[in-house]
């Protein structure tokens, strides 16, 4: 376990070195947040929806703040697989799956935490109608945080599966394009899932993508009661376990048919 924690820690430290990228990311996400909110304000002005505008605004800010968790971004790892640098990782007395899982999780966690904190402060200071609302209650905040952690574990497992496929196709661009499209759409980043038709939402919220940010945000805004909260957290945990299991199997199969690229 210590080795996985250690790679997690090192990755955290590394992320902290890219402060310029962090600033750029924050500016970009703030910009997108403001544009989206302006859009929804116009929409609501002409045709009010069942869902209050305040919760849509809060939804948008939380989505933007944790955007870094959504996209797959460990290019270095992808390159390692493509060029054969993975050979070194195979010479370590660790499980490759766990090793990469820790690495991806660390990257997603620091990347988004470093951006989220300043962004949420900024979003809270905005005038009314543009600002992020505080959590519905203290339990809602706690449940949201717990659910966000599960979401991180779940999306890391999902990304590790696409890494596993990269080992077969050797070109990550196709997989990544598809994954990122599904991800941004079905996790509610492009359009809040709460604005999808109810019948669609029933299906979409069951998918693993919705476990990442949609579930924690709904818990944060108090949209789920206690019963629904337990069910959604159970669903998240279920997906996480299933995806970890699938990923482990995929990586195990990869081991036996491995070719190391580039001599």
């Amino acid at each position: 376990m210590k080795s996985y924690l250690s790679v997690f820690r090192l990755r955290l430290r590394m992320e902290l070195q890219y402060r310029g990228a962090m600033l750029g990311g924050i500016l970009c996400q703030v910009f997108f947040g403001l544009i989206l909110i302006a859009l929804y304000r116009t929409l609501y002005a002409s045709r009010p929806q069942a869902l209050p505008l305040e919760s849509v605004v809060t939804y948008v800010w939380l989505q933007q703040a944790f955007f870094r968790m959504v996209l797959s971004s460990d290019d270095e790892l992808m390159d390692k697989i493509r060029t054969g640098g993975i050979a070194y990782d195979l010479c370590r007395p660790v499980s490759l799956y766990g090793f990469y899982y820790a690495r991806i999780a660390a990257m997603k966690l620091t990347g988004s935490a470093m951006r989220a904190v300043p962004m949420l402060v900024f979003a809270a200071l905005l005038p009314k109608g543009w600002n992020i609302a505080p959590p519905a209650s203290i339990p809602a905040a706690a449940l949201g945080l717990c659910s966000l952690t599960l979401g991180l574990l779940c999306v890391t497992a999902l990304e590790n599966i696409s890494m596993g496929f990269t080992m077969r196709t050797l070109d990550f661009r196709g997989i990544r394009a598809v994954m990122n499209l599904l991800m941004t759409l079905l996790c509610g980043n492009i359009l809040p899932l709460t604005l999808f038709p109810d019948s669609w939402q029933k299906v979409i919220t069951l998918l693993p993508y919705a476990q990442l940010l949609d579930a924690p945000i709904r818990l944060y805004t108090g949209q789920y009661g206690m019963d629904a909260a337990i069910r959604v957290i159970g669903l998240q945990a279920g997906w996480t376990l299933l995806l970890i299991l699938l990923g482990t199997l995929l990586w195990r199969r990869n081991r036996s048919r491995l070719t190391v690229q580039g001599g």
């Binding site: 250690s6 790679v7 090192l10 430290r13 270095e76 070194y88 010479c91 007395p93 491995l258 070719t259």
Partner: protein, 321 residues
């Protein structure tokens, strides 16, 4: 039973090739990287592993270090099968791939070394002692806090080597460790490997194209070609068959006349120097020297042995590699 036992090892890769430019179809071609390779290595040996590009050297190393799984054949290293007992096996081995890096690019190398400490679960004190020992031997001390990306190639290779030896492996695989190193770094690397082998009894298997590395380090050499073993023994034995020519450079004082030399010699002139290349088979050195003394008054003379790279090239050619 030897420390390393390799028996009838076979590995095939499937290579996909485009049929023609812009064709959508690809042909699959099977490339036999290893065709029934067998050998033994004893504990504490320092063995050189050579062969032309594509001979299967790296494939062997990757199988022996548990990265690749062969089609058939067996490998036992200290009783372990590398690919089956990978996690247990890799605890005892160190690997350096000269053309890749195991250290993290953007962080000081000491951070990468700390990560390795945790990965191999080394006790802090043992790790510290070993790190001091290695940084002393490799003169890395002043570089520990420098990020890897700021190191020169030679410094990086030393850091890589240090990283591969932190967990005190009993077996070390080196896949072209001297690629791109300057002479000083190369000599330092050789010295260090000798020290590690002598002091700690580490078994070393060295793959390289640098024949001077082999000549300086390895009492035993294995030659691989087309996935099979072609030679296994002392380097001098290997070379004696191909060590067939000499070059002599002579400078005469005053006039000289080369007409008395045997016919069929490759004679060239460079300023005052006369350079004669001759084959030992057709012309023993004493005979040539005697003729040269008759040709004029010799002021200076050197005899050069054949370049080791040329010998190896001759050997590869003869073995049709």
């Amino acid at each position: 039973m030897s420390y390393i036992e390799v028996n009838d090892l076979r590995k095939t890769f499937v290579v996909r090739k485009k049929r023609a430019r812009a064709s959508l179809f690809r042909d699959k071609e099977r490339v036999e990287a290893l065709r029934g390779l067998s050998f033994q290595v004893g504990r504490g040996e320092l063995i050189g592993y050579i062969g032309p590009n594509g001979a299967g050297k790296s494939t062997t190393i990757k199988i022996l270090s548990g990265i690749l799984t062969p089609e058939s054949g067996s490998v036992l290293i200290d009783g372990r099968t590398p690919w089956a007992d990978r996690r247990e096996h890799v605890r005892h081995i160190g690997v350096v791939f000269g053309q890749r890096t195991q250290l993290w690019w953007d962080v000081p190398i000491i951070d990468s070394f700390s990560l390795l400490r945790d990965i191999y679960r080394l006790p802090e004190a043992a790790w510290k002692r070993r790190l001091d020992e290695l940084t002393d031997a490799l003169q890395l001390g002043s570089l520990l806090r420098t990020p890897l990306r700021l190191l020169s190639l030679g410094q990086r290779m030393k850091a890589e080597l240090c990283g591969s030896l932190l967990h005190e492996p009993e077996l070390l695989f080196l896949d072209e460790p001297s690629i791109g190193l300057d002479s000083v770094s190369k000599l330092a690397l050789r010295q260090f490997l000798q020290w590690e082998n002598r002091e700690r009894g580490t078994t070393v298997m060295l793959t390289t194209h640098d024949m001077e590395d082999i000549a300086a380090l390895c009492p035993r050499v294995m030659v691989l070609g087309h996935g099979s073993k072609l030679f296994d023994g002392a380097l001098t034995d290997l070379l004696s068959r191909y060590d067939t020519s000499r070059t002599v450079t002579v400078r005469f004082s005053g006039k000289y006349d080369l007409d008395g030399l045997p016919a069929g010699l490759d004679v060239s002139r460079e300023g005052e120097n006369v350079i004669i290349a001759y084959s030992l088979r057709s012309l023993p050195t004493p005979v040539l020297l005697e003729r040269l003394q008759r040709a004029g008054e010799i002021r200076e003379m050197t005899i050069q042995p054949q370049n080791i790279d040329h010998m190896i090239a001759d050997m590869y050619r003869e073995m049709a590699l």
